[in-house]
């Protein structure tokens, strides 16, 4: 989860000034939000399902060792080869080892955030194996050498004109004068190119949305069917997933599936939900001969039993980013991490350490929409606050913020002085604003007033108003 070397502020300024990005982000604001609202409204049992989904995950996290062991027993009995990886580097090497063992040259890949998190593609490429992303969005960003900007819509930051340019540059064997106006033409082109890759691949790598302890199963959810072609055609299927994905039973996964697609895209259910248990069985006409599951920890077990444990309930629907005013304004790349949006602002410091992503927990207006739309009820703003507190405690917050907070704390502890200072401050600001009632410039708040005027306070302080109200109430 590396940043690109630029500071967070620089990335944000770049994002705000990028007209193509701003055009593309309009689609997030318009479509995802409205579709999810409609899907939720059409399911009266939403609240009950969300409560149950949260309870299922909380229960599993309290007994995660046992559910992982139960899943492993069933999966192994069905012929799966289970691998455990404590770190990203162990996970990369495990997948590389499997590919080498079968002499793989090209591997197709379904969308997997864990594979992004462990930087699997770079590792395979460095070792002479060509990974080909097959989810259309992932394929596009692979051509561009970018990270996904969204959990479920990795290329949501791009316009079709940009995709057209990328395709013309990459697919040089096709006629240069071909028409590429409509998204359908670009989809058809990618389908043709990727179909050959599916048929030629030696190994198919997918993620898993869930592991089911009851049956030893891994589950993927897609709309394109790319994950299915990835896992059914090659000789070897490798699932790269993480310890937090295990769910007790098929009934439990049904509860969560009712929330996943509705939260993500507003669909009632994704087009394809695929439950895989072991490799090809005797007599089966197709399917992989070998089925490996790489179970990655990469920092997750350290979150158990801490205030950050609830983040492990996340089912990666992306609703928090779709509804976040910061994400809507700057997109995913500004976060400079594999996981963007509110969930990224928590997951990135949670997995990489508070100083690896110090700006992200501060990139929030604390409006609470992320928590409100989270089907797993993860208290994301509270967790961002947790990281902010850590930063202040470690004296790593910006100096201005630390000094400001210290001054405020000193004042707040002395109510008499506080009232005096706020009254005086208001007068000064009123005078500075003059007749317009607006401040064009304010010392220490230049970042605010550079873009807009600050309305000057009017009338009396809150304390005065409150005291007056209490007096009025006390009168018989």
């Amino acid at each position: 989860m590396t940043a690109d070397g630029r500071s967070f502020d620089t990335r944000v300024e770049g994002a705000l000034a990028d007209p193509q990005l701003q055009q593309a982000l309009g689609n997030v604001r318009r479509r995802f939000v409205a579709s999810r609202a409609a899907a939720k409204a059409a399911l009266p049992e939403w609240g009950a399902l969300s409560d149950e989904a949260k309870a299922i995950k909380d229960h599993v996290l309290g007994h995660l060792d046992l559910y992982l062991e139960a899943w492993e027993r069933k999966a192994t009995a069905a012929g799966a080869k289970v691998h455990w990886a404590g770190t990203a580097s162990e996970a990369r090497d495990t997948v590389l080892g499997i590919c080498r063992q079968v002499g793989a040259k090209t591997v197709t890949k379904g969308k997997s955030m864990v594979a992004e998190e462990i930087h699997l593609n770079q590792h395979l490429e460095a070792n002479g194996i060509t990974p080909i992303e097959t989810d259309l969005g992932e394929y596009i960003i692979q051509l561009r050498g970018e990270m996904p900007s969204h959990i479920i819509a990795p290329a949501v930051h791009l316009t079709k004109a940009q995709v057209e340019a990328d395709f013309r540059k990459a697919h040089t064997n096709l006629p240069a004068d071909r028409s590429m106006v409509e998204p359908s033409e670009m989809v058809a082109e990618a389908r043709g190119i990727l179909r050959e890759k599916f048929l030629a691949a030696d190994v198919g790598i997918t993620g898993a949305n869930f592991l089911i302890a009851e049956t030893g199963t891994s589950v993927i959810v897609t709309n394109e069917g790319n994950g299915d072609l990835t896992q059914v055609l090659p000789r070897v299927h490798v699932v790269v997933t993480s310890i937090d994905k295990v769910i007790p039973t098929l009934e439990d996964v049904s509860v969560i599936l009712r929330l996943l697609a509705r939260s993500a895209t507003g669909q009632e259910i994704s087009t394809y939900t695929t439950f895989s248990t072991g490799p090809r069985r005797p007599g089966d006409p197709d399917g992989p001969e070998a089925y490996h599951v790489v179970v990655v920890d990469n920092g997750r077990s350290e979150l158990l039993g801490t205030p950050l444990q609830p983040v492990l309930r996340c089912i990666r629907c992306g609703a928090c980013m779709n509804h976040c005013p910061v994400y809507q304004a700057v997109g995913g790349h500004a976060y400079g991490a594999v996981y963007a949006g509110p969930i990224g602002a928590v997951l990135t410091p949670a997995l990489d350490g508070v100083m690896a992503a110090k700006d992200l927990p501060n990139a929030t207006p604390f409006c609470g929409r992320c928590e409100e739309v989270c089907p797993m009820q993860i208290p994301l703003p509270g967790m961002m606050r947790h990281f902010r507190e850590q930063q202040v405690a470690m004296a790593k917050a910006p100096a201005a913020q630390r000094v400001g907070l210290a001054v405020w704390a000193w004042l707040a502890g002395r109510p008499g002085v506080y009232r005096l200072v706020t009254r005086a401050g208001m007068r000064v600001m009123e005078m500075m604003a003059g007749r317009s009632g607006r401040l064009r410039r304010l010392p220490l708040a230049g970042a605010w007033t550079r873009h807009r005027d600050l309305p000057a306070p009017e009338g009396r302080t809150f304390h005065d108003l409150w005291a007056e109200r209490q007096r009025a109430r006390a009168k018989p």
Binding site: K74, H83, N223
Partner: protein, 224 residues
């Protein structure tokens, strides 16, 4: 590497949740919860059966861009299949598995349909499969892999036709799981596919386009 990593991860989890290995009561409770596989809240829309489930199932298939034909008897399937292919200007050639319900039909009655059997190949344009069940809740087809049911039929061709027996249409996902447990007491088939529409993508400017990688067209024949 993997064994050491396994011990370390599980040890770390036990430490974090404040438990020790070999806690028999905890293990028994977890195993009992899995064995009981209790249902959670089943939405009202999924708590339907019989004719009501069928009406909801067909309506949701259509809402999900799946075309639907109804056959009074299984023996009507070859004719309805041929009609569909003709109406869509598709070749009179299809690939299917060895499902006894389908393989036992009089395909010659719908001549000149050419039937290829086995797993789907790259050049196949049309496939025919039989669903294990249909779920009314979301208009979802449940397909299972096995010697008679190649999974590739559901993903390689551009057009897929799926036959669902009316008696196999259930209300919710949980009903389908109960049927699967009864039909496969030894554990799930290698692959269980829930299919709820033609393949689609919205990755370019969130414009929905059908036929991303899997079938562009999905046609369901509901048969008595």
């Amino acid at each position: 590497m993997s064994d050491a990593a396994r011990a370390k991860i599980l040890g770390q989890i036990r430490h974090a949740v404040g438990k020790v290995d070999g806690d028999a009561a905890r293990r028994t409770a977890v195993e009992a919860r899995i064995a009981a596989h209790c249902r959670g809240s089943v939405p009202a829309r999924a708590s339907v059966a019989g004719g009501e489930a069928m009406v909801a199932f067909v309506a949701r298939l259509k809402a999900a861009s799946i075309s639907v034909a109804e056959a009074a008897h299984l023996s009507d399937v070859p004719r309805l299949t041929a009609d569909y292919l003709r109406a869509h200007n598709l070749p009179a050639r299809l690939r299917m598995g060895a499902d006894p319900d389908l393989a036992g039909l009089d395909w010659a009655s719908a001549a000149p349909l050419e039937i290829l059997s086995g797993r789907a190949e790259a050049g196949d344009e049309v496939s025919l499969a039989k669903a294990f069940a249909g779920v009314a809740e979301t208009g979802t087809l449940v397909l299972t892999s096995g010697p008679n049911n190649p999974t590739t039929l559901n993903f390689l061709p551009e057009t897929e036709i799926v036959v669902v027996r009316a008696g196999d249409v259930v209300g919710g996902y949980e009903d389908a799981w109960d049927r699967l447990r009864a039909a496969y007491p030894g554990g799930l088939p290698r692959t269980v596919n829930w299919v709820s529409g033609p393949s689609r993508t919205a990755d370019i400017e969130q414009t929905i386009v059908m036929g991303a990688h899997g079938p562009r067209r999905l046609h369901v024949i509901v048969s008595g």
